[in-house]
Symmetry: C2
Subunit: 352 residues, 2 copies
């Protein structure tokens, strides 16, 4: 039923979407997943135009099908120097302990909102699928995205967000349960109590909207895919399942922490200013995972030098280690093989 | 496979267990569920011996099958007068606003741990199934429970707890996901980050233990049951699904709040001293849901007079309104009809 409609619309055979994961996914992971018939994705919020063009060209060199370009729709905050100063002051003891100049700068993730220039890039690159996090862009831009023929997706973390997205004409809603790794897609409220587990969010969203629903959060193996379908999903979006694939570009420290599987995940706003799920590390343990930090996306800048210095010592004290709650189920396995294994297993468990 | 083994061991036809819910479930709800072939339960932690005997007799008057008696295994805390005084001081403004004597007492839930006297009751009543929350009783008591021929169950909120329970010989582990209403069954650690959504906890627990796993948390309709089976469960335990049944003994205020379905749930320790999930109310909003309170189960005593006075005014400001995250999916429907509807729907969705 709606599964077939969605797959036809997306132009893929396998009901699996690669989650766009900044810092983990790139052209190589996208290609590996596409090779197995699932929908590839490129996380674009941290890419400048030249890099985005180059990455799309790299995927296009070996794949002509639909590609999901993912963008952020946050409003850049007004500069808040007081918040940035307070944050630097809070981090000063760590700078001292690492013998760092408290005014040191280091490369930090720039997270750009989707704007007219980015929209022009989408018009140029015509990816086939465009997905958004943190809501949707302004109507004028959305009309231009649609005019490229792109299927439009966005994430909902509540029933209200799903309704809001459906009313604005998304082709499918990604229901992002609380178990999901990385940034929560929340955009209508920041009440932590509104955030539901996948088991609850998925049927409630399916009941609330007429468009197909894509399940995300906690789905890492064939059992999870079958469960998501039972709860009403038409497709699943997997991120954590691919984090340990050789095509994933996470650091070796991040990879080792995932493989150890001995650390719980938590939602934290320390690394960007917005809640995102990752493995608990020293900074989260010492400051508390949700603290008073500068607004998204500026909180991460002051951590750059600390992260760099600590990682050089083989430590992840200041590194975001994004991971979904189900990360212990993920394997060190080729991304094409993962996709083929999962695709072949869909619906098979019930027949055992 | 293990589903049939578990059902045979439990002595029921339908793979649904009524969750034992103090303040919501009693003989009438148990009988209604038993009538449809599912496993009935009586929450016993708040009952004295005479009441427990009477309730079991009431169930036995119309049902001869297995009955799940549920007990708590907490260690009663040493008296902490300072904590109780601090808590009363924190609540004093509410006492004043309601014109209550700050030293007023009102009936409050007594939560008793399972002890030798309770064990003797189990030996007398031979319920067929005995389940525990907050771990297991001492080995000597557990041996006596087993000697009655009872199937022994207990709840795990983490993989470590599931392993601990399996190592001590429970017949099945109840994997209680974060979505579940009422008290978390946690007993090995109180790290909030260790608490996983049902979607993640269930497959991880299934991989970790050899005994059958019963899924709990967020399962309120046929979709949830099918999903739980896909994730590896051999049976499901449902509580919130029955809260609005006419056989549920919750207050009319609690019932109305559930039906309104406009309030999120939160984990709160304000009502007992341990985290439990319920609808957010005034006390949770104003004090924060997780505050410094006297140890379980003593925190609730000081709330008794406030709760009583507020409820007389038709307000739930100080009442625990236990509910799982999926409570909007629950219906106002007879408990036998709910059970029959769900039992008939198991596995049917996949065939549509």
């Amino acid at each position: 039923m709606s599964r077939d409609v969605l797959l036809q619309r997306l132009g893929v055979e396998v009901p699996i979407l690669l989650a766009p994961m900044a810092g983990a996914g790139g052209p190589e992971l996208a290609l590996a997943v596409a090779r197995a018939g699932a929908l590839p994705a490129l996380p674009c919020a941290m890419l400048d135009a030249a890099t985005l063009r180059r990455q799309v060209a790299e995927v296009r060199s070996d794949y002509g099908g639909p590609l999901n370009l993912n963008f952020f729709c946050h409003r850049p905050p007004p500069p808040d120097d007081a918040a940035l100063r307070a944050w630097r002051a809070r981090l000063a003891p760590y700078y001292r302990a690492l013998d760092l100049d408290p005014s040191a700068q280091a490369p930090a993730a720039e997270r750009r909102p989707f704007d007219a220039a980015t929209c022009a890039l989408v018009e140029e690159l015509r990816p086939g699928v465009v997905s958004f996090h943190f809501g949707l862009p302004d109507d004028a831009l959305l009309v231009r995205v649609r005019a490229t023929g792109a299927v439009v997706l966005s994430s909902a973390t509540t029933v209200a967000e799903a309704r809001w997205l459906a009313a604005r004409g998304v082709d499918a809603v990604i229901a992002q349960g609380l178990e999901a790794g990385g940034h929560r897609g929340s955009f209508l409220d920041d009440d932590p109590a509104s955030q539901l587990g996948t088991f609850t969010l998925l049927p409630l969203v399916c009941d609330a909207v007429a468009v197909p629903v894509i399940a995300a959060g906690g789905i890492t193996d064939a059992r999870g895919i079958d469960a998501a379908f039972a709860l009403g999903a038409s497709a699943v979006q997997l991120g954590t399942a691919y984090l340990r694939a050789p095509q994933s570009i996470i650091s070796s420290l991040h990879r080792a922490a995932l493989a150890a599987a001995d650390t719980p995940t938590q939602l934290t706003n320390l690394f960007s200013g917005r809640p995102a799920r990752g493995l608990r590390n020293r900074l989260m343990a010492e400051l508390g995972p949700l603290a008073q930090v500068p607004p998204f996306p500026t909180a991460g800048h002051a951590l750059g030098p600390l992260r760099q210095a600590a990682e050089q010592q083989g430590r992840t004290d200041f590194s975001p280690l994004w991971a979904g709650q189900a990360y212990p189920l993920a394997r060190d396995e080729d991304a094409t093989a993962i996709t083929r294994r999962l695709a072949a297993a869909i619906g098979q468990l019930a027949r055992d």
